[in-house]
Symmetry: none
Amino acid sequence: MINGHVLSTGNEVLLGDIVDTNSAFLCRQLKSSGITVIKTTAVRDDMAAIVREIQSIASAADICVMTGGLGPTPDDLTAAALAEAAGVKIELDTAALESMKKYFDKRGFDLTPANEKQAMLPKGAKFLENLHGTAPGISMTINKCRFFCMPGVSREMERMFDLKVRPKLYEMTGHAGEIQIIRLMLFGMPESRVGQILSGFGLQFPEIHLGFRVRFPMIEVKLSLLKEVVSDSEEGMDGARQMKQAKLWVMEQLGSIVISDQGLTLAQEVGRLLKKCGQTLSVAESCTGGLVAHLITDVPGASDYFLFSATTYANSAKETILNVSRETLEKNGAVDETTALEMAIGVRTAGGSDWAVSTTGIAGPSGGTEAKPVGTVCIGVAGPSGSNSQRFLLDRGDRERNKQLFAAMSLEMLRRELVKNY
Amino acid sequence: MINGHVLSTGNEVLLGDIVDTNSAFLCRQLKSSGITVIKTTAVRDDMAAIVREIQSIASAADICVMTGGLGPTPDDLTAAALAEAAGVKIELDTAALESMKKYFDKRGFDLTPANEKQAMLPKGAKFLENLHGTAPGISMTINKCRFFCMPGVSREMERMFDLKVRPKLYEMTGHAGEIQIIRLMLFGMPESRVGQILSGFGLQFPEIHLGFRVRFPMIEVKLSLLKEVVSDSEEGMDGARQMKQAKLWVMEQLGSIVISDQGLTLAQEVGRLLKKCGQTLSVAESCTGGLVAHLITDVPGASDYFLFSATTYANSAKETILNVSRETLEKNGAVDETTALEMAIGVRTAGGSDWAVSTTGIAGPSGGTEAKPVGTVCIGVAGPSGSNSQRFLLDRGDRERNKQLFAAMSLEMLRRELVKNY
C-alpha cells in the first residue's frame, strides 16, 4: 500500500472563509492513481506549524500533495518551510525563473522582485512548470516522502496536477488501471437497519470494502476493491468474480429495497425505465410543490420522456387543470387516496402521457389534524393498464425533508409499477 | 489564545467522494466563538488512525470539534476511539438511549441493537442530544482538550452545533451572550467582485467581522460583532449603532444587488412581499422543470399565496394548458421572449392568480444552437398592471447549476416587479 497525504496551507481555509475543494479533488486523483490517502490536514500560514507538519508527514507518508503558499507575498512560506524541514538552504532555480519570465513576457508584464522570490527553491528540489499562472510548483523528497507542492488556486492546481504530477505518480505506483467499484442505491430502510443486515459482510468478503453514504432519503452502498487484490488469488477467484459475488450477496440480503445496482437515483432509474420503453410521464403535485418534477428534470435527457407537471396547491387548480371532481374534494378533502387517484388520472390525460404520478399530503410544519397528521401523503399512479393510489405516514420532522421523502416515495411507487409492466 | 482543532473522520472524505464542507462551517463557528483554529485534519475510518489523531490533538489543542463516526454501522468508530485514547471503557448511557427512544417512538420505529450501540459512550463522557437525527453527540475531556463529537450529516451537525456546542463554547471562552449579526442576501454578482467592492470595510469598521457565504446562486454577506465590543466605547458609539452604520455602508456600495437585509432568500422575499399585499402567484416552467415551484413551496406558509404551477416540457402542454399560440411556437420556438410572455399570461389565467412568472430556456448539456446556446433563458412576468419578458444568457457549465441560476433569475425579475408595484 502506498500511503498518501494531502496538505493545504492558508489562513483562509482555517478561518472557514473558503471550502477546501482542492483536498477532495486531490483525494480522488490520488485514489485513482493507486494511492491510499491516509490523512488530510490544513494548517495556518505559520512557519513553525508548516515545518512541523511537513516533518511529521515526511516520517509517515510515501507521497504528499500540498497546495498553497507559493505566491509572492510574505505569507507564502512553502519553499522556505520545505527547506527548513529538510535542513537545506533555498537558492535561485534558473529554470523556474526562465519559465516565469516566459509567462510574463507573453502577457507583456515585467517580473517584480517579489516574483523573483517565487523562483527561490530548496536545494535539491525540482520546479514544476505552471502553464496557467505565475507560481512555479515544487517537487522534493524529504525522508522517504516525495512532496509535490502546487498553487492554492484550484484552476492552476488542477491543471498542474494533470500535466506535471499525475504522470510522476503513475511512474511511482506502476499504476495501470482503476479500482473496481460497485454502487447500489437503496430506498425504504434506515441506515442502521441496513448496517445490521449487512454486518456479516466483512467475514464473507474480507478484501472488499463496504461503505455507506446517506443521500437522503436514499442510501448508497459502495463496494470497492483495491487494485492489488484484482490479480488471481490462490483459489483462482479473481477480483471481478469476488465483486460479483459480493454484489449478489448484498442484493440477496437487502431484497426489494435495492432500487438500482448501477448507483442510479430514483429519478434516474425511473428515467432509464421510461426511455427503455419509449414511454412518457406527467406529474401532478400538491404537497411536494414541484420537487418531483425538479428531480425528474435534473436528469439530462429528461425531455425524452417527461411531458408535463402541474403543481396544484389550490383546490380550484385541482378541479380545472386535473379534472378532480368537486364531490371528491368536498367529501374526502384534498389529502385523500381518491383525490390522489383522480389527480394522477387527470394529469395523465392533460399531459397526454403513458404514465402519471401524483402527490397530495401535509408537509408541515402546520396543517395537520388528528385524522391526517403532518407527514400524511397520498400517492397515485396511473398507467396504460390501470391506476392505483396509497396513503403513507412519513414524518421526518421538518418541511424540507418531508417534501424530499414524499417525492422519493412517489418515484418509488412509479418505479415499481414500471418494473411490473416490463 | 484558545487553540481549536477540527477533525473529520470518514473514508468518503479521503476518497474524495464528498467535499468536506463541515470543516469550513466549523472553522467559521469556532472563530466567531473566539477560538483560533490551528489545524484541521481528516482521517479514515480506521481505529488506530483515529486513536492516534485524538491523542495528538489532546496534547496540542484546547478544543476539538469532531464530525462523523457516530452512526450505527461497524465503520462508526468515534465512541470506541475516544475511549481507547482516554484509556477508559465504553458503557451504556441511559440518557442517550432515552433520547434515541423518544426520537424513534415519535416516528413509529423500533430501536435495533445497532442503534443501542450508538448509546454506548466512553466512561466520563456526556451525550449531546440530537433533535434532528438518531446519532447522539459526545462531549468529553481528554488531557486538557475538550472534544465535541457530532454527526457527519451536515444538517444534523449544524443544528447540534447551534443548540448544544456553541453555548458550551461561549461558557468556556467567556462569550457571555449573543453576538450581533446582520445578514444581507445578494444576487447578481460574482463573489470576487463583491469582495473587491467591500475591500475597504476592514478599515472603516475594524471591530466588525465581514464574512461571505455562497448560497449559489446567491451570496450571503454577514456582519458580526463580538460581544465585548457591544458596550459603549470611548466615543460613545455603541455596537448597535456601529452595526447599523456598517450595514448602510455595505448596502450603499452594493446597490441593487442586495435583495434582502434580513438574510431572506429570493423565494422567501417574494413570499414576504406577496403575503404583505395579500396577493397570489402562479408559475409556468419549462427549463427549470419544477424548481421555481419547489423553491417557492419550501417556504412554510407558501399555500397562502402560491396557487398553481405548470411545468410544460412538451410544446403540446404549452398550448393546451397555458394557451401559448401555435403560431408563436412555430415561428419563434419554445425558447423565446414572446413564448415566455404568453406562458406567464396563460398561467396567470389558468391559475387565477394576481401574479405569474415563467421560464423557458436551455439548461444543457445538449440542446443548444448557435442562435440559442446552452444558458439561454427567457423569463416572463405577468401582473395586475401588465406583463413583460426578457432574454438572458447565463451559462454556468452544468445543467443543475443552470437550473438554479435560471430559477433565481425568474424570482428576481418577479421580485423587482413586486417592489415596483408597492
